[in-house]
Chain length 117, copies 2
DNA sequence: GGCCCCTATCGGCCTTCGACGATGGACGAC
DNA sequence: GTCGTCCATCGTCGAAGGCCGATAGGGGCC
């Protein structure tokens, strides 16, 4: 059981979040478009550190499949991976989910504004 | 050019929004996982009524393709269609996008809480 | 060096997606 | 009834997604 904390799990020093164009919204949505990936993201609700094996243990899928899901989340910028010797720490970029939620919210709200005005 | 308003475009009388399980989040995300569908949803920012032809005109895609995108959005509960003679009015279910955004927001926030506590 | 652990990637298989043109059905206009 | 309009559905095709077992490579440990 690993008890130590993952190194450098903040969002400092990461590239700026990508602005939410239609393409970008679709890209993040696509990464979230699978129940297994939602559950993986939900695993980050627990405060413990997250290495690949922890996440594999939390799924009923093969290690290679989980690794693929993690790659998809990483490519979308939702997760960030940090190598630490033989291990890989995975960190959730809350700001990306936050921005995505805000972009969806705006799509929902814009109509209300035009209806009100 | 059609100027009249679509009939019954509110959300009254529709079935209750589906609770946001992992499967449901993934389902809505999947429906949003294409730039063309994001642009279609964004078209609902304009206050004018939305029949299929209006939406087709706003895209560079074939009518059959747009119809398919509309079906996907409808199946996910994001749009509701109302037949009015030969026309079909499409209405955005803001509450679904709202609930989806809130579910994503919660996934992002939960971690912050456990980090703080 | 030799071994083992952790994880990413490859290859293969099947399913699903996304695009289009074509078809067909519902309905209004005449 | 006949035409034209609007729109959903079908058939087809190539591309992409999702799953797995097998493989490979990076890095500790002895």
């Amino acid at each position: 059981m690993i008890e130590q904390c993952p190194p450098a799990c903040g969002e400092d020093g990461l590239p700026e979040p990508i602005p939410f164009s239609a393409e970008r919204i679709a890209e993040v949505a696509k990464a979230l478009a699978h129940p297994a990936r939602i559950r993986i993201v939900e695993q980050f609700a627990e405060a413990k550190p997250h290495m690949t094996q922890d996440i594999v243990d939390g799924c009923t899928l093969a290690q290679s499949t989980v690794s693929e899901h993690l790659r998809i989340l990483r490519d979308a910028g939702i997760l960030v991976a940090t190598r630490d010797g033989p291990r890989t720490w995975h960190c959730l970029r809350r700001s990306v989910l936050h921005g995505f939620a805000a972009a969806v919210e705006e799509m929902a709200r814009r109509r209300a504004l035009t209806e009100a005005g």
